[in-house]
Symmetry: D2
Subunit: 363 residues, 4 copies
Amino acid sequence: MASVFGERLRVSVFGESHGPGIGTVIEGLPAGEQVDSDTLQRFMERRQGGRNALSTARKEPDIPKVISGMFDGKTTGFPVCLMIENTNTRSGDYSNLLDKPRPSHADYTAFAKWHGHADMRGGGHFSGRLTAPLCAAGGIAKQILERRGIFVGAHLSSIGSVQDEPFPMLPDAVLFDTIAAKPLPVISDARGAEMQQEAAAAREALDSVGGSIECMIVGLPAGLGDPMFDGIESRLAKVLFGIPAVKGVEFGDGFALSQMRGSAANDPFCYDENGNVRTETNRNGGILGGITTGMPVRFRVGIKPTPSIAQKQKTVSFRTHDNTEIEIAGRHDPCIAQRAVPVIEAAAALVALDVLLCDAEVR
Amino acid sequence: MASVFGERLRVSVFGESHGPGIGTVIEGLPAGEQVDSDTLQRFMERRQGGRNALSTARKEPDIPKVISGMFDGKTTGFPVCLMIENTNTRSGDYSNLLDKPRPSHADYTAFAKWHGHADMRGGGHFSGRLTAPLCAAGGIAKQILERRGIFVGAHLSSIGSVQDEPFPMLPDAVLFDTIAAKPLPVISDARGAEMQQEAAAAREALDSVGGSIECMIVGLPAGLGDPMFDGIESRLAKVLFGIPAVKGVEFGDGFALSQMRGSAANDPFCYDENGNVRTETNRNGGILGGITTGMPVRFRVGIKPTPSIAQKQKTVSFRTHDNTEIEIAGRHDPCIAQRAVPVIEAAAALVALDVLLCDAEVR
Amino acid sequence: MASVFGERLRVSVFGESHGPGIGTVIEGLPAGEQVDSDTLQRFMERRQGGRNALSTARKEPDIPKVISGMFDGKTTGFPVCLMIENTNTRSGDYSNLLDKPRPSHADYTAFAKWHGHADMRGGGHFSGRLTAPLCAAGGIAKQILERRGIFVGAHLSSIGSVQDEPFPMLPDAVLFDTIAAKPLPVISDARGAEMQQEAAAAREALDSVGGSIECMIVGLPAGLGDPMFDGIESRLAKVLFGIPAVKGVEFGDGFALSQMRGSAANDPFCYDENGNVRTETNRNGGILGGITTGMPVRFRVGIKPTPSIAQKQKTVSFRTHDNTEIEIAGRHDPCIAQRAVPVIEAAAALVALDVLLCDAEVR
Amino acid sequence: MASVFGERLRVSVFGESHGPGIGTVIEGLPAGEQVDSDTLQRFMERRQGGRNALSTARKEPDIPKVISGMFDGKTTGFPVCLMIENTNTRSGDYSNLLDKPRPSHADYTAFAKWHGHADMRGGGHFSGRLTAPLCAAGGIAKQILERRGIFVGAHLSSIGSVQDEPFPMLPDAVLFDTIAAKPLPVISDARGAEMQQEAAAAREALDSVGGSIECMIVGLPAGLGDPMFDGIESRLAKVLFGIPAVKGVEFGDGFALSQMRGSAANDPFCYDENGNVRTETNRNGGILGGITTGMPVRFRVGIKPTPSIAQKQKTVSFRTHDNTEIEIAGRHDPCIAQRAVPVIEAAAALVALDVLLCDAEVR
């Protein structure tokens, strides 16, 4: 029905781009968990613009205000509500768009669904801004997971045709932190420089460009997740496809597996030096039958180009009922994939914490 | 938690490969809908082996028995339970596998999750057999949708490196029926022949090979689906990743969009000859912001190679706690993707009917 | 939407009175739990007729057949499906009722909801028969709870104006077993004899009579349940009102509390001999703020008289569109409350196990 | 799991008594519905104190601020978030209570559940204050229902042993409005005066007293609700028992039915002057088999006495681990039942709108 997901950790997101505020209600967080607000703030800043040549100028930081569910820096067990105020809600940049749906945006589909009642200024509830409360929720989940030795990291794996190096099979928290600290979250800085050129070239051409993100979760024990429609893949994909502009999700080697033979695609089991079962390779991305193998969970998402481009585009006018053109005003990021990196991490952390909570055993 | 999905149309799947039977409970079907059992049976036969060189010899047909929720060939409004008896439940083919987890199967993860209590003979609840009740449920949904002018079709878009032609932008029910009637569900029979060679070559090499499936839903009105985590993409992906061996899902041009520029990826809006809004292209796969545009919904899934291969494979022995090898007995399809084609259609039909039911308006 | 409840233990019930069978799918049972089928069978027999003067003649026993989720007498972790075959499904007793809705039955409301498509022979999906699969599910839950020192018991607390003695404040499993073994599940056999007279008098008058049931759950630790709408009371009431003929539910002293003063209604806290917190009285029924106090959970349900009576009753004819009369053929229990006793226990056990599973803590 | 309910209309409540604010997120409201803020404000004022001799002095009004989901006074289709600021959050009145659990409050059970992490100042998330956002949500639902000819009304049916007159079988909106406008929401003002005396007597005795509320929903069509566990009774009871101090819920004649004979309890069907099916009596409270009959839905809730009383009470000290006494400071209403009247209406309106939305039919 709505902007909510999760089984034992239920995350609900509300708000619109140009309303008074946006926020999240998180139910099911374990009680007594310390949340460091500086760490949370730093995580949230990673999704904001202005950190590199790919984004528009730096905006005011999004500061989540705790409304409920926390006391003295710790979770209480009650629903946690976090609110982020919207500051520039009076922008007139989009005033002419009510008539002409912007291609590749949700303007038209929202119009069709709610018969014109949706407040689509700035994208309304579909705006990329709504990923801010998701990051706030995910940032809390990350802190709870890290205390249990579970780490989530991601990098920009491509912009246009330029690809970053892939993650190693067994990354660690240090690598994740190193990437997160960079202005552009990549493994290879040389590739990162090329990506920035790719984005700059798109901007010069009054255009935008897509990208992809690789994400890993390390430290999850074997046996998490459920069969069939509540497997890790199903749970993650449900949330990932809820992030604006995500159009593809694959686990392990994903679509490449569909071109392989079984002898190459199967991950042989073996005992490691500590007598634990692991796999020699991890082409299945740490998941078999929807359930974790104990190897890192690995997935990749494909993100379409920023829909808003400076070029004229063909569209319709609801007012004149004619085919017409639209020119979208305002400054827009030529690529949004790099800003989505922490959002993907947030989604992964929330799902990981949810399945961990689902795994809890009865006394 | 479990083997269930859907909001207004809730589908639950139960059973194991070697237990007395498998089945489904479907809640929320509209009342008074005629279900033609012959049509349903023919649909279910499409997922059974023996129709072409890629599958093992023909098995007994799976016949779903109506336990509840239907009367005189029509839905009553009560929960529909369908049961399929398991006939060859005493197979000894898998007896030696309890000790040694088969690579790329769920043997080990199920063992880790349920501490060895799961009945994994033949794959247990993870068996491909569980897609039979899913097809039964989906076959009913297809009939209900068709009565409303909504059609679901799919074809095998690749085996290994051999690719079928893609669907046209606006396919119709005739094309879907034509494909469904073929022994191998492809658009180009020439490519189909090559695919069969690819699979035969894998079998000769005691190996298997992966594939991919393209699926479309035509006739859905604009405005179906919900924002964020209950968009069409999220709903479909949740179910699709619940189908064994699916490792990637993409909508529209999917991952290819991540390599495009916005000017190429955006679908321009226009009025068609009837004054309805449509898009000139459909790179977004009929979905914007998670909501249908009125253009056909289009997606592709990547399917890994059959995990069971005749070659020796490395694995561990739980009994001896040593690294060892396994040889999987029995005959196995060198490729399972072609049998998954109706399963993907079933999943698509169930999600399509669910969002259609969710769209129903209050008086 | 439908015939399902539970958060971590999800119970779905399907089937109709005159269809091929009825059953339940239970998801979320812990794996490796032994289920004794004789104990289960004996529990199920308690809801069948013929045990005393209040019921119609003894019927064939309902024997639940395990379709999935159990192996070698133990739960596997997979969804458990239990089926009960319907034997006398060709009864013509109700043939004339399709036209004339029986007062106090669901005939008319089902007709209004599903526009006449529901198969209401014998009450359809609303039949008291559907409590058999609920008992099967609850009987399994009881065995799992008992292994953890948690016991559920109930007695017939009234028929008409005749009341049984109430449960003591701290009952034990022996008392529960003693009551369960009686032909009429009461504490005071003298009162039980009066109840039978009350029922017999109603039958002689071609009438029926209502009753009430008191139920307790002992052994639940303090701290189970959730605030607001997922408290123990909310969870129990949702299931209890799903049982046919239940029209009232109260916890602790219930409605009597509404006539008391606070000084009399409040339960003082104290430490018991083992240093554990308890309350001196238990007027709140072991629940405060929706959460268990560690004292026994206690509630009472009010059950309306059997709607089917031998007297002529006023109703309408859909066919003639006239006011008319109906005479319901067949033999009917003059009181159904005593058969509902194990059903109430089953519901209580399922909810108790669900909240216990919800309480499980993350590693 | 948490503070949420509803199927197609999902209502989530967050906040604590002494935190920055409390609020609600409502998902699934139809788009384009006008909400009059003055009407909403007047409805919310009915639950505030100071309107009669039974409550403490008048407090600042609770004003819900729209954060999202509304534009220009209308719903947009997006999640509606309403926030109410907490003003007097620094009260020291409860400082000594952290050590000694107040009898009949959730202090101890919350302590047991969350191991002392819950912020229970002023009752925390269990505080009666949390019924304010529920009223805000319910007040919106009422406006949407009234536009469709569906009205919800309630009155204080008893305080202690003093009972108001019951609702007539077929009340109308005028009666509901008349009652709502009174300082004490009763039908008989003479009985209301006696009730006030009953409460005043309790206060003089440093005590409190319980009460009960009768509520009706008129205008619902026949055929709403679902069989078994999602019937109207199950849905309403789940929400009603989530309201603090509610300990009993009965539908129609409720527990009184359990003492009746079937011939007296059954409601005969007949055609009314417009040719519609109705029942001559309404002892089943407008619900059969969980589904509406088209007659008014009628139920009663029993509310325990205000737990906070000025008398010394026995309790334990967590600090000294001794049995001890507690004296609760601050001024408390001698009876809270009258303030719960609009809360019960709010719950009823939300459930009524939910089942109405569930009833919407597919095109």
